[in-house]
Symmetry: C2
Subunit: 235 residues, 2 copies
DNA sequence: CGGGTAATTGAATCTCGTCAAGCTGGGTGG
DNA sequence: CCACCCAGCTTGACGAGATTCAATTACCCG
């Protein structure tokens, strides 16, 4: 949050309290099972995680990837049981906290509450972009758009913009996120490479011309062009 | 909201203030254009609306259908320009209000703010269900799941549960929501009918056995099994 | 240096899209 | 009151894109 607004001392303290408890989780660990009782949310501090649902036939749809600083499990807020599974894609550090802490935050620090609301709407916009991607674009565009999204999210964090980033996903995971099979993901990656839109090397992907790939995949960067001028003043 | 919690007089008044202004819109009218400046949100009072995005090639992805009582345009909260288009599917009545009204609401009535947050998370869960539907299920299941969702949403409003509801959508619109062509939607509707899962007559659809259709389409009712016990007390 | 997971590639198959043609029903104007 | 019109629905034939199945090959970890 501190990247977008200047936090007061009180607000900073309130956010720190939420991240009090720490927990190490190893790659592959599930910290929240779909359909099981949920009382906690998590902040991701280090690593990379994902949320997904499993269908009765065993197929998996990955809903979202999480990077450090993001809140995981918000979708469970309104429900008794978790609507999705949270699983670590790498060794991670997470901070679990109670649902009620969010409601305390909204009472004591309305500006942070409004900020949370804005974030969940940005997340919604990203989700709807993926919906359009799955519903109305080719396999090639879907894979390319996913690479761009990962690139933008990582760049928003570390500031570097040289177009290279560690993939951190198997082709099967890319397939489960884009609604394709791992075999077809492989072919599409190859095609993107042959078209000169990306290069691959040792688990890293390089996007030579971000704008060109964005054009080829109809991708929009939802982490740009924000408007938070309507936020209430800090208390 | 009054269906889920008991509102105080003050809370009721605050919500009424939001719905002060009224506007009639005729079928087909666009009240918010994607990529154009947005300062207002809307409450839908009567009718049925949808939000969608258009891709550069002209294809359309319908993101969501709106029914009376729901807030439209929340996704625009964090942005200067609207990420989606809002269009009336029937003659409607809407109540426009300023973005800042939401932030005032969150300051003055934290419980309503938390409620809004819960709603947006429920909406998120519905969206992720659609994502799984588009990414990992057959055309038949997608169409069936959409019918079930419309049925559940209408039932949540009017209470009737006899399985019959007015469709109010063309097959092309169903296709744009499910990522299919109108031609294939037609075939899938026919197939669902031949399988005895639905019947159609004069623009109305009847779902004989809701549970059976839910099984065939992997559909979950996200408007059931809510947990709002963590909400803060009313101010 | 194994052993297992992930990536790669080819061939056959199937689902869904495309194109094209006819049909139907409700609204409109002569 | 009827003929027409037009959007939406229906159906068939064909093709493209993605899946499935199967078999190697490359890579990472201990």
């Amino acid at each position: 949050m501190s990247g977008l607004i200047t936090l007061t001392t009180d607000e900073h303290a309130a956010l720190d309290r939420i991240e009090e408890r720490r927990r190490q989780v190893r790659k592959g660990t599930v910290i929240q099972h779909s359909e099981e009782r949920v009382t906690e949310l998590f902040v991701l501090r280090e690593g990379m995680m994902m949320s997904y649902v499993l269908l009765p036939d065993g197929s998996r749809q990955i809903l979202r990837f999480y990077f450090p600083g993001e809140i995981m499990g918000m979708a469970g807020m309104g429900y008794r049981n978790a609507p999705e599974t949270l699983c670590a894609l790498a060794d991670c550090v997470v901070c679990p906290f109670e649902k009620a802490a969010v409601s305390r935050l909204m009472v004591d620090h309305p500006r942070l509450g409004a900020m949370l609301m804005a974030f969940s709407q940005i997340e919604r916009a990203v989700l709807t972009d993926r919906l359009a991607s799955l519903g109305r674009t080719s396999a090639r565009a879907r894979v390319g758009a996913l690479l761009l999204e990962l690139h933008n999210r990582l760049r928003a964090r570390d500031g570097r913009g040289n177009g290279t980033f560690p993939l951190g996903l198997t082709q099967e995971e890319i397939g489960d996120a884009t609604g394709l099979t791992s075999v077809h993901v492989n072919r599409m990656l190859r095609q993107l490479e042959e078209d000169g839109l990306i290069t691959r090397e040792a688990g890293h992907v390089t996007i030579g011309d971000v704008a060109a790939l964005a054009r080829a995949t109809h991708h929009v960067d939802r982490y740009a062009a924000l408007d938070l001028s309507w936020l209430p003043p800090a208390r």
